[in-house]
Structure formats: structure tokens, C-alpha cells
């Protein structure tokens, strides 16, 4: 299963609909300080179910919604979609027949989130279940945010254990 696309709209500094196409296994995201690179990482963590505002560098969950710039007004909604190529049928039993799997999350100013699986409304649990046991679960070792690489090995022995459970 390969991640093909990341679609962002109204999410943090990506106010206009933007599609990041991932065409290789070695994709580098580059650009000056403050241009929005780590916001793309936050987008991926958010759509797979991240529920802590602090982990997303915000004070509240609605901080992920574009809150304006000198030229633009804030918007009312943020949405992120990941599109996976599942032609090898690796993902969850129920979806083994789908060649493409898309997961999407939207949030509006009232703080309510809505999840979608292949365009159909679903619960957050359906998304987190999809990734259970793939290493992308809650204590995921697959995403290393900025500045925390060394903290990974400085965490307490109990915390480290959860990474092994995730990998088991």
C-alpha cells in the first residue's frame, strides 16, 4: 500500500486546495523557514486521527483551520484527504478489493470533525482500525516530527514499550 496523494484545503497555511503528488519512494519537501513544510506533516497526523491540539502545535483543535493572513480572511473549514494505492490489497480485509483507498477528515469552526472512508461518512474508529498494527497507530514510530528525533530514545522505558507493541 503506497500513499499517492495528500490533499489539503483550508488547513493551517494551505488555504487554497493543494494536492501533493507522491510519485516516488524518496520524496523531499523543501522550502524556506516558515513556508509550511511541517504543516504537511501535521496534516497527515491529523487525518489519521490525532486528537491532541498540542501535538498539532495548536492551543485548540480549530487552530488547524486557516486563520487568515495580511491578504486573506480566515476560513470556516479545514479538510485533509490521503489517497492510497491499494492494488496489492494490503489494507484491512473489508477493503482488500479496492484499488484505491481514500481517508478524509473535515473540521469546522464549531470543533466538530467528520471522517470519510472512500467518500462515505464513517467514525474515527473506522480510520484508526484501518491502520491498527501497521505501525501508524497511536504511538506511531512512522512519523518523526521536527526537533523530536532525539526525544524518541529519551522517553521512559514504559513509553518505549508501546512502540514495540505497535510493531508486534
Amino acid at each position: 500500500m503506497r500513499l499517492k496523494k495528500i490533499k489539503l484545503a483550508g488547513f493551517k497555511s494551505f488555504v487554497d486546495p493543494t494536492v501533493v503528488l507522491l510519485e516516488s519512494n524518496l520524496t523531499a519537501v523543501v522550502g524556506p523557514n516558515g513556508c509550511g513544510k511541517s504543516n504537511i506533516v501535521d496534516a497527515v497526523r491529523w487525518v489519521i486521527g490525532e486528537s491532541s491540539a498540542k501535538q498539532l502545535r495548536g492551543a485548540s483543535l480549530t487552530d488547524v483551520i486557516f486563520n487568515g493572513s495580511t491578504h486573506r480572511k480566515p476560513v470556516g473549514k479545514a479538510s485533509i484527504e490521503l489517497v492510497f494505492d491499494n492494488t496489492q490489497g494490503k489494507l484491512g480485509a473489508a477493503y482488500a478489493n479496492y484499488n484505491e483507498i481514500s481517508i478524509k477528515r473535515e473540521i469546522s469552526r464549531d470543533g466538530q470533525s467528520q471522517f470519510y472512508l472512500n467518500g462515505v461518512k464513517c467514525r474515527k474508529r473506522d480510520i484508526t482500525d484501518l491502520f491498527l498494527g501497521t505501525g501508524l497507530g497511536p504511538s506511531s514510530y512512522a512519523i518523526i516530527e521536527q526537533g523530536v528525533v532525539s526525544q524518541l530514545i529519551e522517553s521512559k522505558p514504559e513509553e518505549l514499550r508501546s512502540h514495540f507493541e505497535e510493531a508486534a
Binding site: 523531499a28 523543501v30 518523526i144
Partner: protein
């Protein structure tokens, strides 16, 4: 179950030892269970760069800690490859020789793992097969911009 976790742990330890000595060009590392009961035990990391007696994590340098953490993440990936791996400026504390070793390891793993990485380092950018440029031409709003490797390097050199 207990047997499964124990087996996972042993395998992770094997991968970690191999990857650590690739990252450091030698040295020793290991993972140890802390506590009697496997199902509630913690995990202790020992890391000994080549030529050093100390294996306690807190005495490692900034760069040595980053390399050790990367070796651990990659060991977990070899055990159970997640759909993708995202690395946000993990090469920032590394000197150029270690950035080179890191890149060679990522390249080798990219045959079975999809990497998405963020970096300001030219050596790491050159490893990429695809570059995604992000810009704030319009201040405060992010947009993608197509970029090729010469352009990215030139933009850095120019400034």
C-alpha cells in the same frame, strides 16, 4: 501475547544492533527488558559509539542521540514496515559524514519503504527522486511550486 512480544523484542534487538553499527561505522548497541514480567516491562536502550566505554544514553552527544534514534526507528520498520515513513529535519544535528551514512541507509530501505522527508541539507535533497517545493510567495499562505534539484541547490547557494 507474551511469546509474541518477546519474539518481536528479540527481532527488534537484532535489527537495532545491525543498523546502529551501520550508522556509526562500528560500536555496539542493544535493547534490554527492564522488569520481570514481559507484558509490563519497560525497554532500556544501550548505545556505545566506536571507541567509547560509556553506553548510557544521557552522555551521548546531540548527533549521536539522533543517529541512535534513527537506527531504532528503522529497526522497528524492518520488523513491521508501516505504509510510509515521514522524517522532519532529522538530519539537522548531523555532520556531513553522518548525513551521508543516513542517506545511504534511507536509499537502501526505500526499496520497501516509502519515505517523505523534510530537510535544508543539500546532501539530503540530492538523495530525493522527487522534490516538492513549498513557498509563501503570497505572505501567510502556502503553495506548492515545482522545483528541480539544480534549482533547489542554486537557490541555497545564491543566498
Amino acid at each position: 501475547s507474551r511469546a509474541r512480544l518477546k519474539e518481536t523484542f528479540e527481532q527488534a534487538n537484532e535489527h537495532f544492533k545491525v543498523l546502529f553499527s551501520k550508522m556509526f561505522n562500528g560500536g555496539n548497541a542493544s535493547l534490554e527488558f527492564v522488569g520481570d514480567e514481559v507484558l509490563s516491562a519497560g525497554v532500556l536502550i544501550r548505545a556505545q559509539p566506536p571507541g567509547k566505554r560509556n553506553a548510557l544514553l544521557h552522555m551521548l552527544s546531540g548527533g549521536e542521540k539522533a543517529l541512535t534514534a534513527i537506527a531504532l526507528v528503522f529497526a522497528l520498520f524492518q520488523l513491521n514496515p508501516a505504509p510510509f515513513c515521514i522524517l522532519d529535519e532529522v538530519d539537522a544535528p548531523l555532520d556531513d559524514a553522518n548525513v551521508g551514512r543516513f542517506c545511504r541507509l534511507v536509499e537502501a530501505m526505500s526499496s520497501s519503504v516509502q519515505f517523505l522527508f523534510i530537510s535544508h541539507n543539500k546532501v539530503t535533497m540530492e538523495m530525493a527522486k522527487q522534490l516538492v517545493g513549498v513557498t509563501m510567495h503570497e505572505p501567510g499562505t502556502s503553495r506548492l511550486v515545482s522545483v528541480d534539484i539544480e534549482q533547489a541547490i542554486a537557490a541555497i547557494e545564491e543566498k
